[in-house]
Assembly symmetry: C2
Homo-oligomer: 361 residues x 2
């Protein structure tokens, strides 16, 4: 059926030019007689590509000079453990804001390591909204405050970043990384698995403020030491060279279409189209989320019965609209609209939603 | 110049059929309208490939039923930390055998976590040999005994695995994984980064005996918990899907050429050809390693002067024999002859060595 529209929550759709370029060069990288993924990570060719990728990330994401950029393995999941192991020392407290499934994973790991305060919990409203600034009482002296910027399962997203009174924010931005400008000065550390907005799976982007990084424990096994990765420019051990290459190509694609501001406009356009289709359906499609907390990356909706939802998903899949099934813990539908999803994919989905409603209204 | 022979120590040469197949299917995986690396790791297609890869590994590597097979991120480096964090509890002792650079990294991490005994250290002979069985006095009650089966920098390799009196061996087999049959019953845990013999970088194969695995600590952050990865079949979090796909293709290639016994015969043939060329050069080329400890994966040699070595490497590179420079810490030359290096590559290198000696003798 040719290329389909893939709304999967991650791994997820990649820019077609990234895939085409990689396919073309996978056997022989630019006439070198071997693939890039066969080359030493300490050789000139990979080293140049690695550093170019860091430079592109810094430039496109507008990351200030007082931040380190790391590429680490283990995804956001390893970061859930690495952050408290490095920064939550005995006698310290870290604040956590519980907005849903991904915040909970970070909380669960941090509790094993040290003392935390969950200063807000969305449980009583079933994780359908982000707290307002005036609901957040940060703990004086907390070493950091963790939040998840976008919850892929609940479909909610921070549309602001809170004032903390000087406590560095730590954020899991796996699902909305590089989709909008970030007020970097509020953050001590940002991490994001690459498999939604940046590249295939197998890597985490970590952006750390230099003065925050200096507080990281060094009496840890080598891979868990941020200082070691910083000192070696993420080449302490063999990095996942293919994923870095794909991220390099994806960053070049983002630059070619206009950079972060273009990505942000597309994000607004795509998510507005979908929420409009839901809101104008007269209740045929419903979004369970507080309007001010709606995610622009993962748009979730329900229908009147699970049978109708199953029919919707099955017929959509047949028409090349794939990956629309909601997470098993919440059901319903979910369209993940990451950076590489073209507007045409949303048009096709919105058209399908209208036709489906007409036929099955 | 067409495809060259790549003797790099890792990442390193891959089977050409693996690269060609991946290149062909990278944009559209078998008519699915998307790449495999864009697919959900919880979908049917990736799940089948993931399980097939585990089955192939078990079959080709002759791994008994009482072992778990895991695919984890962070390479061998994260395993250096994860193993002691999981198994070296307070009051326990683990034994270590120090054969060189890679054993040292494991020792360094384990020391941070708990109490260890380095029961043998190759320092006084400059890490040029593997200890004999009668030199090893294991600590009664040690929870495990660690060794590195092949040291890529020193060019030495265990050609036997020691009797420990029941202490489970833990082995870093990054550089000789799947190159010979393993007496699995001696091992509690084997790990190996994939980027030398199995696939591109970004993954570690972990093979754990089930009764050993049961002793792993569970009060650790999630990614560091072996029990979590076992329970979720290595899909607790998003795995590096591309690397698993490449390993799948490489395992199929190994099977197609005759499996482990064919790989072992090729290993002997290739390494014998190179050691013959060194030994029959009348001292023009010299291998600094104890003969019984010679590595069949990383063959190292020196020449009379560093100038001549530089000339050798430079001329070899021009003739499509790449990656022959020895590790910066030891100098000289090194040919890494992993599973995917064809015999033709060794023939070309041996021919070059002879001609170089004739011209510059």
């Amino acid at each position: 059926m040719g290329r389909i529209y893939n709304f999967a929550a991650g791994p997820s759709t990649l820019p077609l030019p990234t895939l085409e370029e990689a396919s073309k060069k996978l056997v022989d990288f630019e006439g070198k007689g071997m693939s890039l993924i066969e080359m030493s990570h300490r050789g000139k060719i990979f080293d140049a590509l690695h550093n170019e990728t860091i430079t592109l990330m810094k430039e496109i994401y507008q990351i200030p000079e007082n931040f380190h950029i790391l590429f680490l393995q283990g995804g956001a999941t390893l970061q859930f453990g690495m952050v408290p192991m490095a920064f939550l020392k005995q006698g310290d407290t870290a604040d956590f804001i519980n907005t849903g499934a991904w915040a909970k994973k970070a909380i669960s790991d941090a509790k094993i390591v040290g003392k935390i305060n969950t200063i807000w919990d969305g449980k009583e409203n079933n994780y359908t909204r982000i707290p307002a600034q005036n609901e957040l009482k940060f703990t004086p002296g907390a070493v950091y405050a963790h939040l998840c910027s976008n919850e892929t399962i609940g479909g909610i997203q921070w549309n602001y970043f809170p004032e903390t009174g000087g406590i560095p924010l730590v954020a899991d931005m796996s699902s909305d990384v590089l989709s909008r400008p970030i007020p970097w000065d509020k953050f001590g550390l940002v991490f994001a698995g690459t498999q939604k907005n940046l590249a295939p799976s197998g890597l985490a982007l970590v952006v750390m403020r230099k003065d925050f990084a200096e507080k990281a424990r060094q009496d840890l096994p080598a891979y868990l030491r941020y200082d070691q990765h910083i000192a070696e420019n993420s080449l302490y051990n063999t990095p996942p060279t293919f994923v870095i290459w794909m991220m390099n190509l994806t960053l070049k694609w983002i630059k070619s279409i206009g950079g972060l501001s273009a990505i942000e406009k597309l994000r607004d356009q795509k998510s507005n189209m979908l929420y409009d289709a839901i809101d104008k359906s007269g209740g045929y499609y419903t979004n369970p989320v507080d309007k001010g907390s709606r995610s622009k990356m993962n748009i979730v909706w329900r229908m009147k019965s699970e049978e109708m939802e199953a029919k919707f998903i099955s017929e959509a899949t047949k028409q090349g609209l794939d990956g629309l099934k909601g997470h098993r813990s919440v059901g319903g539908m979910r369209a993940s609209v990451y950076n590489a999803m073209p507007v045409e994919g949303i048009k096709a989905l919105v058209d399908f939603m209208k036709h489906f409603m007409e036929k099955n209204g």
